[in-house]
Amino acid sequence: MANHRDVYLDYSATTPVKEEVFQEMLPWFTENYGNPSSIYTIGQKSKEALHQARSRVAKLIGAKEDEIYFTSTGTEADNWAIFGAVDSLKTKGNHIITTVFEHHAILHACQFLEQRGTRVTYLPVDSQGLVDPKKVEEAISEDTVLITIMAVNNEIGTVQPIREISEIAKRHGVLFHTDGVQAVGSIPVNVKEWGVDMMSISSHKIYGPKGVGALYIRKGLRISNFMHGGGQEGKRRAGTENLPGIVGFGKAAELAYDHLDHHIEHVKTLRDYFTQEVLRRIPEVTINGTMEHRHPGNINLAFNYIEGEGILLLLDREGISVSTGSACNSAALTPSHVLSAIGLPVERIHGSIRFTMGDYTTREDVDYVINVLEDTVKKLREISSVNEKKGW
């Protein structure tokens, strides 16, 4: 076994804050602590920083500065988009179209509204992990007020046909929101080209700090407020701004914009190499979701005849951090709703692991993980009561 090393392959869960980002944040804790709403000098200095961060985030997604509203998280942005749109359009209708494999920030918000009388259509996805735009169009009815479909799935990394869905939404005069949390900073994103009305973003997925997100709201669109209080964020999202966090988010957005091509090339090269080597060296492994339309740093693999929590624990022992869709890893003992949605048999969901590469992943890291993974799978298969010969 190669020398022990710490390898983080869960960049879709969160990312480390980049040093440049951290340094840029620091003065906004202790020196420049003014409230951006105060009219004296140090308050106005904070206001200027807020402005700069907003313009950097806007640039990353091809938006205008006044279309970016900072929130506490991507989850808040998702909740706001849904509650805000449904509330503001309640005289028009009360129907939402979404998919079965959205992030829980969308699904649980929709379920909450469902319990209060909103009709929600949860569209299926195909075995490749893609939404069929035709199904979206078929689901639209008179009372549809919102379509919310994620741009990139968080577990299997599949990239949805956002532009096609957006055209359909426009044709029918229905608002379209996309959860762009996993897309921004990982694939080219331009809200104008995509034609979306709203998009959620999160800072901590792009090497910024946790506790900051944003909702893009197309200029001219008014949805009801979600947070009520002071006049921050153009009177649309109350609460004193998390300035250090927002400054960090802005810096992270700037770096993501400047290095996007390099970032994509870097993670994709490592991801493809990793996938190819694992499939070559470890038998009975299959890929979950299409490789064609996929987040460049994401691979989700099903290891037959073993269970994911065991894999995760053994990898963790060797310093490697990954995620699993296994039910055994969830408090509710339910297998991943995303892998269920693509029709993966439950016994194979239990043995599925998500690996996500990032800017700090190296070829040496990947080689180390492949070696440890090969031993881990072999060890667990020796213990397992099911195998290739016996079958499930």
Partner: protein
């Protein structure tokens, strides 16, 4: 630090009595891969004493650790004592398991009973501890989750089943 204590991790990392047994006197299997846990336990019996036990388990860390410690506990036990072994003793032997993982110890307990049942059937023996035991039963009804038919339903006060909590990849 981790979700399991050192004893559980030790048994998971270095499981005892893993493997197949040649010509076992009794074999019991319990659970299914669909449910996330499946244990197979084989025993060798001499004069009503379990001389050896081997297991193979598809399942999470606690399922493997439970199998390991359960086989270790029953080796050297009389059949009657092994039948009296409860899942609580297995959990205690491991120094405790997280609430949602208790069902793993139930599986081990059940697999042992199934192996003894198999031995009793083959040798025309009857044991008090096997009265009313059906190796094909899906376990006590209250332990079965409604949709899947899988053991693992948590119904105690520590139950987090309805908490919406999930560790799915974020």
């Amino acid at each position: 630090m981790g979700i399991y204590n050192d004893t559980v991790m030790e048994h998971f990392m270095n499981p005892r009595n893993v493997g197949d047994m040649e010509n076992p006197d009794g074999v019991g299997t319990y659970g299914s891969p669909v449910c996330g846990d499946m244990m197979q336990i084989a025993i060798r019996v001499k004069d009503d004493v379990i001389m050896d036990a081997k297991f193979k388990t598809f399942g999470c860390g606690s399922a493997i650790a439970s199998s390991s410690i359960a086989t270790e506990m029953i080796i050297g036990m009389t059949i009657d004592d092994a039948l009296a072994l409860t899942n609580k003793e297995i959990v205690d032997g491991l120094g405790g398991l997280p609430a949602v993982k208790i069902h793993c110890s139930v599986l081990a307990d059940h697999a042992i009973k199934s192996a003894i049942y198999d031995y009793a059937q083959k040798n025309g023996k009857t044991y008090k501890g096997l009265e009313g035991f059906d190796p094909n039963a899906e376990e006590d009804e209250h332990d079965i989750t409604e949709e899947s038919g899988c053991v693992g339903g948590c119904s105690g006060p520590a139950c987090e089943k309805n908490s919406n909590e999930s560790n799915e990849p974020k």
